[in-house]
């Protein structure tokens, strides 16, 4: 059995999820190749070749690949898919853009956001916003899956896998990349941060959201997150929304400040290792998915916490 792992990166940095994807791929044995798509991938490919378990690093380099157009990435996958029994990536907005497209062109019933792989053709995943877990038996002859990276361990470093260049199919001209807006932040990236400080509508305003939570995040080296209610109220940008309609996080420590805990939010954070909830409402549903609960006024507690740590 041979497996192709598609590595996520931003041109400079490899995503933390790559080593987790490789340890998930070990399920099918040690014939694991990793595909890197982009331009000028020299340093990144060396980094990948150092991950234990990797047989070969495949580089698809071209200037137009830096914008990660789904049609282009899908065509690259299709050009090498015949060599693999399993094609795998970490579940994210990156992989979910091109992988279903490639899966359909390969006539494969894809499996999204796999939580665990009890056996080679058996997977668990969750449905209904994480409220139910299912076990799926697959009779696919080839698998295309995305995994919930935080559920898998990181593959170790210390390897020297061969690095190959692969041919890049012709550029798709039906999609033009016009530009992007990224929030500039000195804080770590939300999906890979070890600690997340997250705020809800109880913060009351954009000013308070920022002035109260940012010092705490700075001190902890944490990423900032928000509920959909806080985003809709204009307290926080959409990019940091956690939950069913935003991103899913599973840090070591999740600090929920003034968050009531609707299932639409908790589905995006309940796999965090330790959850702390600070809320004045003793009946807040967030307490049901928390390990430590502090029933108190957040406007007093948060500054005190910044002082204490």
């Amino acid at each position: 059995m041979s497996t192709l792992v598609i590595a996520e990166h931003n041109g400079i940095k490899l995503s933390n999820t790559v080593t987790q994807s490789i340890s998930a791929a070990v399920t099918w044995g040690d014939t694991i190749d990793v595909l890197l798509v982009g331009d000028q991938l020299g340093l990144l490919s060396v980094e990948v070749s150092n991950i234990k378990g990797v047989r070969r690093v495949l580089k698809a380099e071209a200037p137009h690949l830096t914008s990660f157009i789904a049609e282009d990435i899908s065509n690259i996958i299709l050009s090498i898919a015949h060599q693999y029994d399993v094609i795998l990536a970490a579940h994210s907005s990156f992989s979910l853009d091109f992988l279903p497209r490639a899966a359909a062109q390969l006539d494969v019933a894809m499996i999204s956001d796999v939580l665990s792989i009890p056996d080679r053709n058996t997977y668990t995943r969750s449905i209904y916003a994480g409220s139910i877990q299912t076990t799926i038996l697959s009779s696919n002859s080839k698998e295309v899956i995305t995994i919930r990276a935080s559920n898998f361990t990181h593959a170790e470093l210390g390897n020297n896998a061969e690095i190959f260049n692969i041919d890049v199919p012709q550029e798709t001209h039906c999609v033009k990349w016009l530009g992007e807006t990224r929030i500039e932040s000195e804080l770590p990236e939300l999906t890979s941060a070890k600690i997340v400080v997250s705020g809800g509508r109880s913060l009351g305003s954009a000013d308070k959201f920022d002035s109260l939570l940012r010092p705490l995040a700075n001190k902890l080296g944490a990423a900032l997150g928000a509920t959909r209610a806080a985003v809709d109220a204009g307290y926080a940008p959409n990019e940091i929304q956690i939950g069913q309609t935003g991103v899913t996080v599973a840090p070591e420590l999740y600090i929920a400040v003034g968050i009531s805990g609707a299932v639409q939010h908790t589905s995006g954070m309940k796999d965090s290792r330790v959850v702390v909830a600070i809320n004045a409402d003793p009946d807040a549903p967030i307490f049901q998915v928390s390990d430590y609960v502090l029933i108190s006024d957040l406007f007093n507690v948060v500054p005190e916490l910044v002082q204490t740590i």
Partner: protein, 250 residues
């Protein structure tokens, strides 16, 4: 431009679905259902583009049993011009749904196909991209804005850490994020009127597409429960417990 909007019938987002006693199935009988929220955003966007003169006709399509007629009435009441049911009693995985939609797209020739970015029941997030792949059309997923300039669709899509803008040559497939718009409320007279409008029904059998599921769900269970929470009375106690019991460096 003609638009095709694919909508899915799902259990209402506010209802907690339960599992049968031996964990072999979900108990969905009699639960309140609705249009999948993201699909409703897709339909709303098509309606707005029609109101601004960019779209001439909107065809709403769903796949499933006769019970799905209910959400097609909802689509007609919102303002869709036509409503079509691809009738089947089988549970379809996204790939099978995409194959059926492809056949319909080839027959109806819409210039723009809109779907939700995912369904809130299976949380797969695949159908739109699969449809685009099967048709060889350009795609944009999780869009939060859409405008039409001549033959091109200009979209903004939500990505991790920001947004990106793309221009797609039609015909194209786009999937809607909740942020795209706020779906309209349906006025009672429109709902009454929609009851009298025709619903087109095609049997999935007509399409000669293999819908045999390659994936079988063999077991359903509730996720593992978190340990009971500990109530702490002060910031000091909280920090001490995190350090001592959880090994967290603060």
């Amino acid at each position: 431009m003609k638009a095709l909007v694919a909508i899915k019938r799902v259990v209402d987002a506010h209802i907690q679905v339960s599992i049968n006693s031996d964990g072999t199935a979900l108990e969905l009988e009699g639960l309140k259902t609705a249009v999948n929220p993201f699909d409703e955003n897709a339909l709303e966007e098509a309606l707005r583009l029609k109101e601004s003169g960019h779209i001439t006709e909107i065809l709403a399509v769903t796949i499933g049993t006769q019970s799905n007629v209910e959400i097609l009435r909802h689509a007609l009441a919102m303002g869709a011009d036509r409503a079509l049911l691809l009738e089947t009693n089988l549970y379809l995985v996204p790939l099978a749904a995409a194959k059926l939609l492809k056949a319909l797209v080839l027959e109806e020739s819409p210039e723009i196909v809109l779907l939700g970015k995912k369904a809130i029941d299976d949380d797969a997030g695949q159908t739109g991209q699969m449809l685009a792949g099967l048709l060889g059309y350009p795609q944009a997923t999780s869009i939060s804005s859409l405008s039409i300039e001549g033959k091109d669709l200009i979209v903004k899509r939500e990505i991790e850490g920001g947004t990106e803008r793309l221009s797609l040559r039609s015909p194209a497939v786009v999937t809607a994020d909740l942020r795209l718009n706020e779906p309209r409320f349906i006025k009672l007279p429109n709902l009454m009127k929609a009851r009298k409008l025709p619903i087109e029904i095609l049997s999935v059998k007509n399409f000669n597409i293999d819908t045999t599921p390659k994936l079988k769900t063999i077991f359903f269970k509730e996720p593992p429960k978190r340990r009971p929470s500990v109530v702490v009375n002060s910031v000091k106690e909280l920090v001490e417990k995190l350090r001592a019991n959880e090994g967290i460096t603060l």
